[in-house]
Symmetry: C2
Subunit: 317 residues, 2 copies
């Protein structure tokens, strides 16, 4: 459970006392996972998620263009659906910002992501505010059972769907300024500015029988920690796949990679489900003792960016 | 079509060119109505809406307590569902604000509205920002066909589900300060601080065969104007029901009353559908000429608060 949801969880528990309609139904998952899961009148499950990007907190507009910002807030949401093994349906976009904001540029980025990942924007709101705040809410669906954070069991293999750290390394490159140093540097910047949600990989992991899954939005240490917390397991990691040009610290502590990490019992089933996709990498194993969090035998450094309300605003990027 | 949606509509048209999945399906309505209407895999329609409240733009925190603000952003959304003839399902709450914000107080107001109108909060996001920005997105449902803004026809009666202007008069009373002058003044303040979405009335209007409906969030003049614009009709109004203690100017130009205005062809059907509810009032008639907008034979004053992006921020409340 992420710190930022603690207040929302208090809210839900208050509500649950008042009426049965205000409690999750059988199979439903509300606050505390990547997306909320609600039953629909037909056979499937509907997924609902919302994510906000704030100028100066999540994005430095001197480094990030508005179309990239629009793209990224869409991707943050789509990645939440991917982490349940789901697919996107529709998006609502609520934009608050100063009157001089170049809305067309912002919407161009949103529209590109909407078209690229087939998640049309069907409504929203637009209001004035002293700083730019963009909230996207998405609906999605999942054919079978959604993959929660909480199902990992001791003995499950831990997999990641791609190398990590590219986004953090790309941000560092943007901060350094000037043109990209080489093709690797250029790829890192692209990974930061235009990340992709791992939608095919999320579906493949679900079909492979993954017990638990989360997207790496706050760094592998933090997000795998959330999965282990929710599942009540520990873990031992042998290796961290690091993107070319990034460091292991970027991989462990950098956010916004939108790679998925999942726990699955059957390595053969995983390899078969990913036959048409980039193969995921087995990085370790879930263990019995929830206090055990090891990387190559040593305690995993708990880096990562938690947008923690109580801790005050993050340093300006 | 509200001015604030113009940019979103541009976005959707850009998208519609790229792929059929990015165009509304049969019977669907996306941007431009109170809520978006999407088909579900089962028989019904799903409604989706989002609304944002920004400190200093929509709410003056020296006059509005955080629990009232939370209540009101929920009600703004629920009213959008009511205006389609629908009922609420679930809410997502995205809060951005300064670290010292009293989240428990804000959530208490949100939770009260969620409990009162049976719309549990099932997820959301929480981030830092220099000012408080609260976005709520809701899902809802409608059993039959949703009531759009665009279906009014010449000859339809125009009805409102209650007296207007109480919220604007209540805000004036709060600004005057001190304790409420009398019970009427107290009721006006309550109407401003704790408005109710007209959910039963919206369903009744749908069952009565209403051709078009909108909620009065920006003032009757502006909102009836949106309905007439979308329907391509004009109107003649004979009378405006004004809340006790409010003025006709409050009724025409004040926002946030969350009364519904609808156009319906059959007065008997309306009276029958509202048999168990406060009777709605017939205030005029839709006419052929879309340029005709009359109140008691004179041009309707076009007051109302449009949160118009291009016009710069509104005066601080």
């Amino acid at each position: 459970v992420r710190g930022e949801f603690a207040a929302l969880i208090r809210l839900t528990s208050q509500l649950a006392d008042s009426a049965p309609e205000l409690r999750p139904g059988p199979g439903e998952t509300w606050i505390g996972d990547d997306a909320a899961v609600v039953s629909t009148s037909s056979s499937g499950w509907q997924l609902l998620a919302a994510d906000t990007v704030v100028e100066g907190v999540h994005a430095d507009l001197s480094l990030t263009s508005l179309d990239d910002l629009g793209w990224k807030v869409m991707v943050a949401n789509l990645s939440d659906l991917a982490a349940m093994g789901g697919l996107p349906d529709k998006a609502l976009v609520a934009v608050s910002g100063p009157p001089h904001t170049d809305l067309d540029l912002l919407y161009r980025g949103i529209a590109s992501a909407a078209a690229c990942f087939t998640c049309p924007v069907i409504g929203g709101d637009l209001t004035n505010a002293p700083v730019l705040v963009v909230t996207v809410a998405v609906t999605g669906r999942v054919e079978g059972a959604p993959v929660l954070r909480s199902g990992a069991r001791p003995g499950d293999g831990i997999w990641v769907t791609g190398p990590l750290g590219a986004s953090a390394a790309g941000l560092r490159s943007y901060r350094r300024g000037g043109p990209p140093a080489d093709p690797v540097d250029q790829a890192l910047r692209a990974a930061h500015a235009r990340p992709h949600p791992a939608l095919p990989a999320g579906s493949a992991a679900r079909l492979a029988g993954a017990h638990a899954m989360i997207d790496v939005s706050d760094g592998l240490s933090a997000d795998l920690g959330h999965l282990a917390d929710a599942s009540g397991v520990g873990f031992r990691l042998d290796r961290i796949p690091v993107a070319a040009g990034a460091t292991e610290a970027d991989a462990l502590g950098g956010g916004e990679d939108y790679v998925l990490v999942f726990a699955a019992p059957d390595a053969e089933a995983v390899r078969a489900a990913f036959a048409q996709l980039s193969p995921p990498e087995l990085i370790g194993m879930c263990t019995e003792d929830p206090r055990e969090r090891l990387l190559r035998g040593a305690p995993l450094p708990l880096a990562g960016w938690e947008h923690d309300w109580s801790g005050g605003p993050p340093e300006p990027a």
